[in-house]
Symmetry: C2
Subunit: 309 residues, 2 copies
């Protein structure tokens, strides 16, 4: 089933204790698309880049059969640029520069072929842009997933609340769930956020795993313990892309299928962090993914008999 | 099968953002015994208390059919006392007072009836005492689990290394695994610690779950997301008691049965933190435990078909 991804595409410059990445392709839209492409060849992306964006950087999208007609190129502006530095535990980072550039006045233009997407992913960006996308579609998608961050909570809370009313799933980091809800307990957080609109709440705890909340149900998937985490950039976007990609394959949006989607999203995310940027997402294949999913299964499944209780 | 628990029994005074506990019964030995008693009525405890230890504080042990003949009472000394204060996130705490008192010169005396225990739990205490226990037994237990903490790593590392060579399982917190191994990655930590002796390594990540390492295998169980964590004191000891208790029921010490034991230990641990001290462990029954285990199963299990891959 068709997926529309709206999210940033730009340059990242990442510093970790292991070295720096140089200026590489980044942005939420990039990670979401590459990750979702493991399950679908009906992905379209809407974004905007500048005059300095090399044609060769379109190659990863084309190689994965992602429709790039919705990427506007502004010949008068520079591409979005982010640089940041991770601390030695790789769990915290500081942003050194955020240059919005072309995204400053981004008006998303959705090409006619994708005005009725079945799945929609709204990457982390201004709630105003997210709202415009929802309003411009010709019909309500089967499922809408959004991401956001604390910046928008402090700068555009009212707009954000309007978007929240129109989406099915929100996927955010634990500290952002706490900020949005004003609750420390993630159960209370999820409960409050569900009252703001989304029926499903995904809370990503970084290398401590991912929670999916729906009604009174909770599903939990761990992050794979890795020998070395190299670069966490894009892990959340990769999760989101894999999650929606998996659901779109069968179109089954039941809670049970979402559990499996969480596992696949987590598996893709575990690859993402093993090298700089999108390097691993571009180099692994379906077999690598299958093996990694099997590792998740082995790690959490146990034989369980009722007489144990 | 019989279980010998060697661990502290004493007084705790706990401060949390919700108030203070007053002077209540605490100590690793207490939590381990109460938790294990959900599975076994063949538990004996070896410990030492002082002249100020009220007879009524023996009641929780007697009520759960725990053999207390190994608890020495020193009429010339005070009981072990610990007080601490948790920060608002309840993940970190400061120790305000540790008064070893009777445990200062504790020589464990193992009563004749328990010189051949089938399961042995060495609660967190001086490696010298742990070593004495191992040397005084008449035969090697089927399984020995030990706990320790960073204090012993800095004060008695050589003794600790001797004990490590003689145990089957070590169960420690994540930051202690990192300190003992000198590795940040928990996979590398577990690998290095296994080289020090124990075939099985359990790393407890507090409210981020528990990892069990064996050869190349990893099993992970989450902590139950709770509406409110009230008092984390004793959560690790409760886990250890439940883990060994569950194994002792069938005597099956396979890796597969240990996975289930991790789930039962985690379930008991999730009760422990809901109220001050041992209050919940003393008030819940087998049905409460069964329901809680079912919550863990629901939270992590998913239907998985090979064609998904």
């Amino acid at each position: 089933m068709s997926i529309l991804v709206v999210g940033s595409i730009g340059f990242d410059f990442i510093e970790t204790p292991f070295g720096n990445s140089g200026k590489i392709i980044g942005g939420a839209g990039t990670y979401i698309c590459l990750s979702a492409s493991f399950f679908s060849n009906k992905i379209s992306v809407v974004s905007k880049v500048g005059k300095d964006f090399p044609t060769s950087y379109m190659q990863p999208f084309i190689a994965r059969k992602i429709n790039t007609r919705g990427i506007q190129v502004d010949q008068n502006e520079e591409t979005f640029f982010w640089s940041g530095k991770y601390n030695s535990d790789l769990n915290t980072r500081i942003t050194k520069h955020t240059q919005l550039n072309v995204l400053k006045n981004f008006i998303p233009e959705i090409p006619p072929h994708i005005l009725k997407p079945e799945f929609l992913v709204l990457g982390n960006m201004s709630p105003q842009i997210q709202k415009m996308v929802l309003e411009n579609l010709n019909s309500k998608p089967k499922l809408v997933l959004m991401d956001t961050m604390n910046y928008w909570m402090s700068q555009e809370l009212e707009q954000l609340k309007l978007v929240l009313k129109k989406v099915d799933i929100i996927s955010i980091k634990d500290e952002e769930a706490r900020e949005l809800s004003g609750e420390y307990s993630l159960i209370k957080s999820a409960s409050k956020i569900r009252k703001m609109g989304p029926k499903f709440v995904i809370i990503r705890k970084g290398d401590h795993g991912t929670l999916l909340f729906y009604n009174k149900f909770i599903f939990f998937a761990p992050s794979l313990p890795l020998v070395e985490i190299y670069d966490p950039t894009g892990a959340g976007d990769t999760f989101n892309g894999g999650f929606i990609g998996y659901l779109s394959k069968s179109g089954d949006i039941s809670f049970d299928n979402m559990k499996r989607a969480v596992i696949f999203g987590s598996a893709l995310s575990s690859f993402c962090v093993e090298k700089f940027g999108t390097e691993q997402l571009q180099s692994i294949n379906q077999n690598d993914l299958s093996d990694r999913v099997q590792q998740f299964v082995d790690m959490v499944q146990f034989n369980y008999e009722i007489e144990d209780l």
